[in-house]
Symmetry: C2
Subunit: 154 residues, 2 copies
């Protein structure tokens, strides 16, 4: 069982995509995060849904939750306006690391070891050739668990 | 919109549950993690699927991935045996923090602020009374995003 066999399609957005479209995608598909691709289609980052929530909440409320009641309900209903005119790239933390990338030929154990080491819920599988990076798909922790359980007949 | 209205059912396991049963639950429902309850039914931790993967991978392979090919395919197919006889509690990191807990009366903004502050994909909603803690459900980041988008008509 190789990474290429484990890779499945996963919702991905470009770093230039509209932040509101990305938020809708997460919300509709109940995704804990999205894979973000750079302008060349290379895996650039993982955007967790909790980070999207962070973009919506006024900074002073995150720092001091006691101020939350100060924001009236009408304003609270309009939190998503914070996404208007923003791109996915604008929503990423400045220090967002690139997602871990496995080689298509990596074994299931190598993918599992990479996932365990970086504690990532998601590994991108990509061919990294001289002429560019070609994304094959992703391996989620739950999917890898599924395949490992199947392999061991559990 | 209050935390009690946002809370939904979520797959939870007891800290004493069989680890293999918990792994199957994650795999079958494609869950990025499970809510772990203590012996009194109180939220105790979140067990990410990536942590479950970590339990399966031999420690020396996590430390030195170059050793992965040393593990032959037959052994690799039996990784899930690492779960036999273990409980969910055995799979948690020793320093696993309790999950963030919102009060049922907290507003959506308070829940969002808590989620943003602790960068958690999941918030438990529970009544914390003197006679014990009563879990109402959880709010996932994707579900909260869904409700906030709906409230703002986006």
């Amino acid at each position: 069982m190789r990474a290429r066999d484990l890779a499945v399609d996963y919702e991905a957005v470009s770093i230039d995509s509209d932040a509101l479209v990305a938020a809708r995608l997460m919300a509709e598909h109940k995704l804990p995060g999205l894979l973000v691709l750079d302008e060349h289609g290379r895996p650039r980052a993982i955007l967790p849904a909790s980070q999207m929530i962070k973009v919506l909440v006024p900074g002073y409320v995150i720092e001091d939750p006691a101020l939350a009641p100060v924001v009236d309900e009408k304003h609270a209903d309009q939190l998503c306006r914070a996404l208007a005119g923003r791109s996915v790239g604008d929503c990423l933390p400045v220090d967002a690391p690139p997602p871990p990338i496995a080689d298509p030929d990596d074994t299931a154990l190598e993918v599992a070891a990479l996932m365990a080491r970086v504690r990532s819920p998601l590994i991108a599988v990509a061919d990294q050739a001289e002429n560019g990076t070609h994304l094959l798909g992703v391996v989620t922790a739950a999917h890898l668990l599924h395949e490992l359980l199947k392999a061991s007949g559990s």
